[in-house]
Symmetry: C2
Subunit: 158 residues, 2 copies
DNA sequence: GTAATCCTTGACGCCGACGTCAAGGAAAGC
DNA sequence: GCTTTCCTTGACGTCGGCGTCAAGGATTAC
């Protein structure tokens, strides 16, 4: 099997497979014409990498699984090193999820506080003798130096 | 206030502040010597950006907050555009957290399955007439072509 | 005065996992 | 034989948010 077929069967691209090879994850035999030659076991390697990538594993983290398979084990996670990666990833996931939930709570708190503040301002505006109700955009336009910035200069690009 | 002082007071670096300016987030007046000149209101802008960055907001997502402050509003989230960003971020966070929890469940399942498989193999090895207990590493070393790859070729680096 | 520190702009580096383009050889269909 | 498709290597581009270095001018401390 050549690189194009392996890529198609694995649902990826030749470029990706060459990249894996460059990282030492997917060594390839060569035919007499210089073309890379793969077999079914290579398909398993690529599939293993794909599954882990979908889990959010970095390429380096897939290495123990790939080497486990290449060593002849039935599954990529038949080796202790792979299990260690699983456990480390679970810890990372727990930490990350915890942080994200903390952030979500804070953002939600900010949103609620800001909405309440706006509601208060709106209520005051309704009251007789309240402040002039200024349009959001109009307010911005009132101060001259706060006009739309036309200077947007991107780095290294003009 | 010059850029170094503002950076220090905001807990960031001059490079970062120049970067914000290049993105149109933090316009700076200039002194007669060409130095950037900032005041307390600029410190508020930078602090607003920092808070949102800590929440995981991208720089572009902080723009409505910064423009809101620059328009003279009391808070960066006093404007509807900022609230919209809050809501969008909450949705993104919910989606992301959900995905991560799904991945965590899958990884945990994989870990448990793999641990169970190893336990079964260990138990079989204990039984009389069971298979030869092969060392994890020894097994890998047995197949010659699966030896440690010494070819690790990094892209564009040798 | 002079050395140390601050400021300026410009430009390249970094990380990760590839995408994309280029120049050229091999293979496959007709 | 000819065209199209596939393969090869090499090298630059992408995205975000800066870090870091370079060359040179301004300010400040002593």
């Amino acid at each position: 099997m050549r690189i194009g077929e392996l890529a198609e069967r694995a649902g990826t691209t030749p470029r990706t497979l060459r990249y894996y090879e460059s990282r030492g994850l997917l060594p390839a035999r060569r035919g007499s014409n210089g073309y890379r030659a793969y077999d079914e076991s290579d398909l398993r390697l690529v599939e293993q990498i794909k599954v882990l990538q979908d889990f959010g594993f970095g390429l380096e983290e897939t290495r123990p699984f790939v080497e486990c398979l290449r060593a002849g084990h039935p599954e990529g996670d038949s080796c202790p090193a792979s299990l260690a990666v699983y456990r480390r990833k679970l810890d990372e996931l727990d930490a990350l999820i915890g942080e994200l939930e903390s952030v979500r709570a804070k953002v939600r708190g900010q949103l609620e506080r800001a909405e309440e503040a706006r509601a208060r301002l709106a209520a005051e505006a309704e009251l007789p003798g309240g402040p002039e109700p200024l349009c959001e955009l109009a307010e911005a336009a009132l101060s001259a130096d706060a006009a739309v910035p036309a200077h947007v200069t991107y780095e290294n690009k003009g």
